[in-house]
């Protein structure tokens, strides 16, 4: 128990002292996971909409793949990406292994199935008659998509949160494709693994508190947006 209190005290001290390294790691964590989530939304929501609204050959297979992807173990994503991106790998000439870019790509693959799955489910739950009416009233395709997005904003914001949650909480893939390089690719989850391994439990707990606080603040902002829009 003492150790946990020591950790919390250490966390408070690091916060108050405005420790440069912890701020840098926190900002990097936020930047990488936000970039991955944004890309996942850009690609994932349209895919989710198409899967929800259209029937075509192979749709069932894609939906099953998306559902599998929602439980994709990060280490597997990391392993495959490492083998592709290492210097002698098929895309080694890109020289992005052990960079934040590689981490964004890894987290994108983890967030994407979440975004596709959540947007698919929420768009599919819209009454098909409503969509029929939109078409009947002469809306074009983009207008229908826009109205659908408004109609399903609760579900879509859930997609954002799930995607961001998958990205920021994972450690295996970030460790493998980023290598936890100090000042370059060290993010909160990988720093926690490092400090735990070194037996610096106070620092690990301090970093853990920061990570949980960061996830909470991001979700608080998103939830507020989600619930406020519901009222209007």
């Amino acid at each position: 128990m003492d150790l946990i209190w020591d950790g919390i005290r250490e966390a408070a001290r690091l916060w108050w002292s405005g420790d440069g390294e912890i701020i840098e790691i926190t900002l990097r964590t936020l930047a990488i996971s936000s970039a991955a989530t944004a890309l996942a939304l850009l690609v994932g929501i349209p895919i989710g909409a198409v899967l929800a609204l259209r029937r075509f050959w192979g749709r069932g297979l894609i939906v099953a793949a998306v559902n599998t992807g929602m439980g994709m173990p990060p280490v597997v994503v990391g392993l495959v990406l490492v083998l592709i991106l290492v210097r002698q790998g098929p895309l080694g000439s890109l020289e992005i292994i052990y960079t934040p870019t590689a981490m964004v790509i890894a987290q994108l693959f983890l967030a994407l199935p979440m975004v596709v799955g959540f947007s698919l489910a929420s768009i599919q739950s819209v009454n098909p008659r409503l969509i029929g009416q939109m078409w009947a009233m002469g809306a074009n395709r983009w207008q229908v998509l826009w109205l659908l997005a408004r109609e399903t904003r609760l579900g879509l914001l859930a997609a954002v949160m799930a995607g961001f949650g998958a990205a920021i909480s994972e450690v295996g893939a970030s460790m493998q494709v980023g290598a936890n390089l100090a000042g370059e690719t060290r993010v909160l989850p990988t720093a926690i693994v490092l400090e735990t391994g070194r037996g610096n439990w106070e620092v690990a707990i301090a970093l853990g508190t920061v990570l949980v606080a960061l996830a909470f603040i991001v979700n608080l902002v998103l939830t507020t947006a989600q619930q406020r829009r519901l009222v209007t």
């Binding site: 909409a49 198409v50 890109l94 020289e95 290598a179 391994g197």
Partner: protein, 303 residues
Amino acid sequence: MRVTTGRTTLLGWLTLTALAALALVATTSACRSDAGYNEAELILATTTSLNDSGLLDELVPLFEAEEELNVKIISVGTGAALRMGTEGNADVLLTHAPIAEQELVEAGDVINRTLVAYNDFVIVGPRDDPAGVAGTSDVAAALAQIADAGAIFASRGDDSGTHKKEIALWRDADRVPSVDSDEWYLEVGQGMSATLIVANQRGAYSLTDRGTFLSLSDHMDQLTPLVSGDVRLLNFYSVMEVNGAKGRINTAAAKAFRQFLLRDDIQALIGEYLREEYGQPLFIPAAGETEATVSVRAGAAPN
């Protein structure tokens, strides 16, 4: 009609994504050098125990400043580090498994393997020492006693340099334990610090490099060094350059890094590292020596 629109939309997005990926490839390819690797970057594959000690955090920035290079320290088990060399995915290796390293030299995977420093492994164990090995100077005899007593032993189990050393010592003791048949034998499968933390919790014996044990001593309330001083417990750290024939290897930077580690002022830094803090050196510089000369000297010195 709508089915077609659906398909085109999906195809459209897939095409867009593919185009974006291509654009990414094109831009990054445009940035990279003709050599096929980044000349301002050196990939150093090394062992967790060395990186955990903090020594590289001290030395590498000096090298980076001198050469205006960025060094990426990839800290993995020695087995994985050597594999990175074999596959040509690192430029320079700094590891501690002489026999496995020699195999890479003979296969032509690495060149200019050179001893940089050494320290020693110790067998640590619970203070009450249930197997009664304290003070034994023959490490093989001590391990045999542990096995025969069925006392808990925590192994790295991760193909690291320390793990390779441990297996070799069990062979010397003529007792090679297996997790399937020996209940007292634990394979932790993690780095040295994590393994020692588990050993401390379980009251287990373990083989560790002295540096990691010293750096964790605050947490080692159950464990104490019990067996040391056997010549077979010497721990040799060597640097080697990955053979440029593999392609896309930053051979110039790798050579510069090897020469840097062997320089007098850097060797002195290695010898002084944390010496005051622990009252004994963590690493003993060994430029210009070989495993054989160090072993002979250690064997001749009274333990």
